[in-house]
């Protein structure tokens, strides 16, 4: 991690804390090449417990790849990812399955199983990993539907949902097992401005209620400034980290150019509408 106003990459012991919260996810010196293309070049960053961290950067910079490495879906060529004190990049699949039971992931296009109804999609993790009765499962699934503002979708197939509804169903599926960490890959992409505000409010609301460690990828600057406690700006395979207001005032021309592209009129998080009001 290249911290603001500092060029020396830190060691694991030398990590600066983002705010007061302790790190939940620690990413150290990741390197990854896709053929001749270098995607991650010694990237290090950390994600604070119970906070919203947004991985920001231009398209194709490796945001989703970083998220997939944190999820254990992709192996880096070099480097470590520590989650709750366990290193996961060299972990056998069986142990990784245990770690993943504490992680929820909302994929960019939902990744809901086409052949199952929305209800079955959300209920799947509970049916697989708990001994809950069907009525308990139904109660939990409906509570998630209520939390994300989905109604009358039990029998619908994912193909029958709109883009925004699909994102909300994906969020319900990611949250139903009450994970400690929520990874969201481009939760705001492909949505109209009103839907963007709704999903933003929803994520902020989920973070506030469940105290989950939320890691999002986005190239949506406005939303990032409104939601994020901590921003990881990816550029050239490395990360520049800091609080949103630190990054907007960064002296680094690459960061400034990116944030200046957002234009004026960004709304601070305090003025974000409540999820209940937004829906």
């Amino acid at each position: 991690m290249h911290d603001l106003d500092r060029d020396v990459p830190p060691t694991p012991e030398d990590h600066p804390e983002p705010g007061e919260a302790p790190a939940h996810v620690d990413v150290l010196s990741l390197r990854l090449d896709f053929g001749s293309r270098n995607v991650l070049d010694g990237l290090s960053c950390r994600f604070a417990e119970g906070k919203i961290s947004v991985i920001l950067g231009a398209s194709g910079v490796g945001k989703s790849t970083l998220l997939r490495i944190i999820a254990g879906l992709q192996k880096p060529d070099y480097g470590d990812v520590w989650i709750g004190g366990k290193e996961i990049t060299r972990m056998p699949n069986r142990e990784l399955k245990d770690v993943r039971q504490h992680i929820g992931m909302m994929f960019q296009h939902g990744a809901l199983l086409d052949s199952m109804t929305v209800f079955d999609n959300v209920a799947l993790a509970l049916r697989e990993h708990t001994n809950f009765s069907e009525s308990e499962i139904a109660d939990r699934v409906h509570a998630q539907f209520e939390a994300v503002g989905l109604r009358d979708v039990n029998e619908l197939l994912p193909g029958e949902l709109s883009g925004g509804m699909k994102k909300r169903a994906a969020l319900a599926r990611a949250m139903v097992a009450e994970p400690d960490i929520l990874l969201c890959d481009e939760p705001l992409s492909g949505l109209d401005p009103i839907a963007v505000r709704m999903i933003e409010s929803l994520l902020a609301d989920v973070s506030q209620r469940s105290k989950v460690t939320m890691i999002l990828t986005s190239h949506h600057i406005g939303s990032t400034l409104r939601m994020a406690d901590h921003v990881i700006y990816m550029v050239g395979g490395a990360a520049i980290c800091g609080a949103p207001n630190q990054l907007t005032r960064s002296a680094d021309p690459r960061v400034r150019a990116f944030f200046e592209a957002a234009g004026p009129g960004e709304m601070p998080r305090s003025r974000l509408p409540r999820w209940e009001d937004a829906r």
Binding site: M105, Q108, L112, D114, L124, H129
Partner: protein, 266 residues
Amino acid sequence: MSLLPVHTLLWIVQSLGARITSGVQALGKMARFASRAFNATFQPPLRLRRIWNEIYINGVLSLSVVCISGSAVGMVLGVQLYRTLSRFGADEALGTAVGITLVTELGPVLTGLLVSGRAGSAMAGEIGSMVATEQLDGLRMMSIDPMDFVVSPKLIAMIFVMPLLSALFIMFGLGGGYLAGVTLLGVDAGSYWGGIESAITLEDHVAQSMLKSLCFGALIGLIATYRGFHAAPNVEGVSRATTQAVVAASVSLLIADYFITALWGV
């Protein structure tokens, strides 16, 4: 004839070497995939609902194709074999010839080719599109092994439905042979059915037929799921996986057929 330049020869040897190496690597990957798939198949939980669903998709929905093809092939066999046998005055042996050909060879092989074209391609396409839309990753993130949840039910269903579909193909083929040979060309009905009854034995012909259809079912299931599982995550990748699944399954099925036939009873 002039000799090929050294660098051309080198290029040929290098290309051949590269192809052989990648072929061996692909076989190794496939063997690992097969071992993981069978391991998942024999481990609990047994996903009966998903297996039943796959049996419906791969078996029940293939019924019409198999029955119509079986009847047509049986009728063609009836006519062709009647013409050949009647030259030697042996048209009474039509039932024997149609029966043995259908039971030991055409039944399992043609059913395998039909199923690989219909169900195998659908299987590869479905898994390939699940890769492209991150549905398999979604399962992994819920700590659900896609091998266990997606591949294993398809493999079990394919191994289960192939012998049944093959038996149905043979039944309709025998019926088609009867229609063409007995009803249309005038062969004696008693000698047709009697020839089948006396020539076909359970321990030889039927067992060979069953073994072939079981092996073909496993081959089609494995190749289709493997191709789908390793599809590139885009539309072109899914389409390529589908085509490769059908071609590879058909060719491997014919090669396996030769070996089973040649080694049977040795």
